[in-house]
Point group: C2
Chain length 177, copies 2
């Protein structure tokens, strides 16, 4: 996948898995508080010291945003309800780490897409981490492409049908998208 | 709707309409770059001087985040592809402004939900606006509740089915949600 398309993975607001590698081991967290900040691409996510992964994110200034699909829901919830402090989440949830091109944090083979990211800023006051995507991977061979949207009350909305408004939107779509 | 539930409107990542009132007239913009920052609730959205609404947002430090549903798609796209600089968007798209309780920016009657917000910070460097929700409204009488997720390529994903993982997630759900 071209890096210029990576924002289209985050713009719809799916729940994501964010991986880190602190130099000793891989870890992964579930995050639904993310947004696009620029097409370049830049992303923001909200996290802080309450997440065990935050120390690795701050130290290494790298992570991977992986996009899971509906068939992975129980892994997504499992990852989000235990801590890397006492759990090897890749082993426990049978996620396969794959070496990236630009960062040491692992891609997740079971996910639909993976975006390798570098931390460009941490806005301490609001616990907002700003990330620049540096490589993007999309598993086009995967049949299941429906992502999940966390509601926050313990329920998840699955992607439904897609509606096309490309002609009406033409002036607002970046070149090549 | 209780204010403590308002984050559940934004966490799934729907495209939203953001209204402002600059003291003279109402305006509205379409935004899909939003995220939750805290349950209190705090939200972030990305916008800047390239949006005509930004001047009103900066000056008044108030806005309303309105949540449209699938039946409003063409209005959402229309609002997003013209400017308040030369268009009365409420009139053009037949949106009905409704007086809020805490802010002068209008609610939108046609939307499923509206969150009245105050600007608590603008992170200039990244064009990130941090908002505090101060009142929330939900139209429970509305039959159509499916929201829209912008992909960024001119297509929109409609909410599909909802999956329940409340029991697995219990420890992570804020009290009363």
């Amino acid at each position: 996948m071209r890096l210029s398309q990576a924002f289209t993975l985050i713009e719809p607001g799916p729940v994501v898995l964010v991986t880190t590698n602190d130099g000793r081991k891989n870890n992964v967290m579930t995050i639904s508080w993310t947004m696009v900040v620029d097409f370049t691409p830049l992303f923001a996510l909200t996290t802080g010291p309450w997440n065990y992964s935050f120390a690795a994110l701050r130290k290494t200034k790298e992570c991977v945003i992986a996009i899971p699909t509906v068939d992975l829901l129980d892994k997504v919830v499992g990852v989000g309800t235990c801590s890397g402090a006492d759990t090897d989440k890749f082993a426990r949830f049978k996620l396969t780490p794959v070496k990236g091109r630009q960062v040491k944090a692992p891609l997740i083979r079971e996910c639909l897409a993976n975006i390798e990211c570098k931390v460009v800023d941490i806005v301490r006051k609001h616990s907002i981490v700003v990330l620049e995507g540096v490589a993007a991977h999309f598993d086009a061979s995967r049949r299941e492409k429906r992502t999940l949207h966390a509601v926050g009350d313990g329920s998840f909305i699955v992607d439904g049908r897609k509606l096309n408004r490309r002609r009406m939107m033409a002036a607002k779509i970046p070149p090549g998208i």
